[in-house]
Amino acid sequence: MADPARPAIALRAIEKWYGTRDAPVHALAATDLEVPEGEFLVLLGPSGCGKTTLLRMIGGLIPPTAGELLVEGRRLWRAGQRQGEALADLGMVFQDANLFPWLTIEDNIALPLELKGWPRERRLQRAHALMRLTGIAGFERRWPRELSGGMRQRAAIARALSYDPRILLMDEPFGALDAMTREAMNLELQRIWMQTGKTVVLVTHSIAEAVFLADRVVLLSPRPGRVDMIIPVPFARPRAPDLQSTPEFQDIVRRLRRRLSEIS
């Protein structure tokens, strides 16, 4: 039913101002961007470049000051009001897993389905399937505090996938993890993305992570935040960790690093 020509996400002159009338802050200058169906897009940039602001606008958490935002062809914001149908296509993963400590892992993952009124048995069945997909089967009845950071983030991904949104929005999802876990999670994410065929928009400030994961890297520059350049990453999938030591990979990393130091 998805029209191949229609982008999963379309930003038309999206703009964001923060603050009062006296001291407004231009967080994001008018931005146009299209994310095709099934793409893995990474937003990269120094702090203050508006990448999190941009992602939170796409996720329906903060309203844009101006412009139009289409999710699967439907307007997300209408007169400052979020539109429920468009939200159903979006799943969000935050830097902190943000699991509710009073719910077991399975209940956390099933929470979105509970809010939609699914019967308990059905939503737990769905949660268990997602726990197998994200590699945390066996932890169904554990409390979140009993899991490691990487495990908790897997559960957060499972929760975001529970209601089968077409698009996954991830705000520095592995930023709080140690380097080794982070690399493992990048591989896992690639596998989950290939298995589910979702459209992913991921925010990061790690250049290597961006190049490893992305079909396209969008580099944002600060004050005000705006798209500086877009770099396609042509490597075949699935990508293995060894890819990172190839000259082609290093080349893209170098280009991005040089540009980053110029703009930040």
């Binding site: 009073w102 929470l111 945390i136 505090r145 080794m180 876990t181 493992a184």
Partner: protein, 278 residues
Amino acid sequence: MPDAAAPTNAAPPAALRRQRLTRDAALPWITTPCVLLGLIAVWEFYVVEFRVSALILPRPGAVWEAWVEMLHSPRAWHHTGMTVYATLAGFAWAAVIGVSLGVVIARVRWLELTFNPFIVATQVIPKVALVPLFVLWFGFGITSKVVVAAVLAFFPILTNTALGVKSIEEGHRDVMLSLNATRWQVFRRLELPSALPFILTGFEIGIVLAIIGAIVGEYLGGNAGLGHLLIARLNAFETADMFAVLIHMSILGFLFYFSIGVLRKVLIPWHASARLKV
């Protein structure tokens, strides 16, 4: 996948921790009786050695006998029942009003700003001083005791609830926001469970204050309840019986406090406080 360890691998440290917690929890069961026995011995020694009048301080044995006698007296149990009722009824009112008002105040900014000066004012007024007024308004019967218990227990429950609802993590709110949850769902699935540890802390303080309120109310008016019984014994110079009533009250207080601890274990098993408290 270094972090994808099977659950069995995670079990040993958790089990070790549990073991230490059990050992820590067992310690008071040994020390408390020892310290108590020591205190009673000092008491006995003091009374015998310095020949203290039984009117001032009866011997522990005499107090014990008076208390055992009290346990066999239906009238004493009637008084106990009245105090328990006044405490629980007062606490129930305080809990219902305190929690609902606390939730509302934490969510509606202008209500908080409007109410806050009055909340602070009523906090600093010595509420016990108002007890005669309550007796005047609500009579010498049980109602005035319930009201005093409720008034005393109300504020810690209110303030702790409001604090709990305000302490909800922004990230948790973002999750509910991104899931397009309704206001009721946010309250039922996020705010209430998140604030529950705070609410229970309010209950813990509140239940102790409720029993104080009930007893002080009984001191000043009426002819029922443990507070009334204590004053009656005092006026009759039956000091041993007075001590017996004191013991009775203390045990009651312990039981109430203890039941909130049990409530904690049942309602918030996920919270750290449920594992450390009694």
